[in-house]
Amino acid sequence: MKAINLMVKKMEELGVEVIFGIPGGSNLPLYDALYDSNISSILMRHEQQAAHAADGYARVKKRPGIVTATSGPGATNLITGIVNAAMDSVPIVALTGQVVRAFMGTDAFQEADIVGLVLPHVKYAATVTDSKRLVKEFVNAYNCAYSGRPGPTLIDIPRDVMQEDIGELDNSDAIPDPAFLWKPKLPIDAELEKAASLISSVNRVTILVGGGVHFSGATSEVLKLAELINAPIVTTLPGKTCIPQDHPFVLGSVGMHGRLEANMAIINSDLVIAVGTRLSDRAIGPPADFKKGRKIIHIDIDASELGKNVIPDVKLIGDAKLVLNNLINKLITHGLSRKDVEWIDKLRDLKNAYEEYMMSQTDESRLNSWKIVKLIREEIPRSAIVTTGVGQHQMWANLFFKVLEPGTYITSAGLGTMGFGLPAAFGAKVAAPDRIVVNIDGDGSFQMTCQTLSNIVEYNYPVITVIFDNRALGMVRQWQDLFYGKRFKDVDLTETTDFVKLAEAFGVEGVFTQSYDEVRMTLRRAVRNNDAIVIDVPIDKNEKVFPMVPPGRWLADYIAPPGFDGHGKISTSVITK
């Protein structure tokens, strides 16, 4: 049997259901093997979109998404999607075709060193030059992608390696090599003890949740800990998907465009328990400010994250679910008394004041992004999955979209990849065809990957797209407005592109809306009928996302929405430091 047929057989045994990609000269043997398999293949329109679709699929399924591309340009087109998956710790396995071994290193047609190109950003990448190793290399890469801290892996396979006859599958190929078997570490008891003592010794504790909680499945442990110690929960951007925002202790996302009350929770805390987050600059601002005046307990599965950006007082290495369970038990043993909740009430007051203020802004001549986001939440089921592009619309979604069920919010957080939203939504819909999937997009982001509309129609995976259409690269424009003296350069997009016609050209219904009611009724109909649709919502290009913490500044240096003083709550009741 050919090596590639054995690999595909192994993929089936591992439960691979679908592969996103595009065939070409060098990965044709893979497609030929897929022809006889139970694995569905989805023909994307660009390899970047295939990688994002695999990413969206993986986040919903909590198992590796598989993507394939041919050698050369096919492989290099994957790179953005692979790096995006790395930055958000998402397990995807990329299978690239390579030119035949005899031509490798000769600058042959469509030859590119894809392993060399992705090596800084993957957990594992290798070119398979021995056909007898192919199945084992796939098993290794698949296992590596999802075990420990998830992330992308890549196997580069010369065409002739795929085609070699290697007999039957060796049983030893079924299990990964020892180096690929991640062994969960138990948290060190002395560190747990230190953490419990620290929690007991302070007044105001905030739990900062990162994306690691999603793949760990530690939502209920986070909530249990919060309830045990009366701690508000705030999240990073990737952490937003982990926690239901209708829980009374959840305040929303922190960071540059975080919620005021969430940033205030960090600013006013004596101790931050950071779970499954790398504590990036966008989330916490300058590390020195973050560390000043507060203790940090950092829980992460990746030991190299502990102390990378912020040196914690207590390091707890391990899977979030396991560590939190142990910590909760330790706290219960300690007989911890519940902490005062008065400050959480004040933060909630600020939350309500901000929402009331924003919702009270009325201007008959324009639609406001935050009201559209709120409306979307009202019209879609709790279980609906929402993806976003990157830009102002993403930050409005971050501020106003309330995640109600864990795992239902997918965004490109670390890399900030414009164009992520639509293909990721498609991948999510493939993973969960019975759920409503909505892509909240910007007109700039949408135009980067809008060909995915073809897939939505062709494979009948209807996705709803709402375009926040301000005819600009809105976030870049906002920075030019605030930090470059309004010297707008190359941020305005043409007024002539017709998104309704564009959608229709792909066979998807397009609707231009001019009122909240129109948006609501159109969305309601699409949800009811599970229709694919593109809803074009005009937004004023001068609308700016606030609050905003200027780049490089501490969370307390936020710019509030013009005219908002939090009814005095920002300056008097909440900030005590």
């Binding site: 090596l119 290794n140 180096a179 190299s304 502990l306 990378k308």
Partner: protein, 87 residues
Amino acid sequence: MGMARYRLQLSLNNQPEALGKLILLIKQARLSLIEANIKQASPEILNAQLLIDGREEKIQWLLNKLILFPYFKSVDLMSIEVARDVQ
């Protein structure tokens, strides 16, 4: 934290990807490579001894990072010089 000089001893897969990853991680940690001595221990395994300079926390980061990647079989670190001022 101060700068330090360390000798890093590794056992790694005998594949270009493993060596590439090692150098890229040293780059990511913004460490200086002073000396490298790499020998084949077996057809599958390389032994490497590196002399590196850099901030102590970055060297610690490198150590923690290396063990996460399947290219590397074992990593040992020995401090041979410390206490130079932060540059």
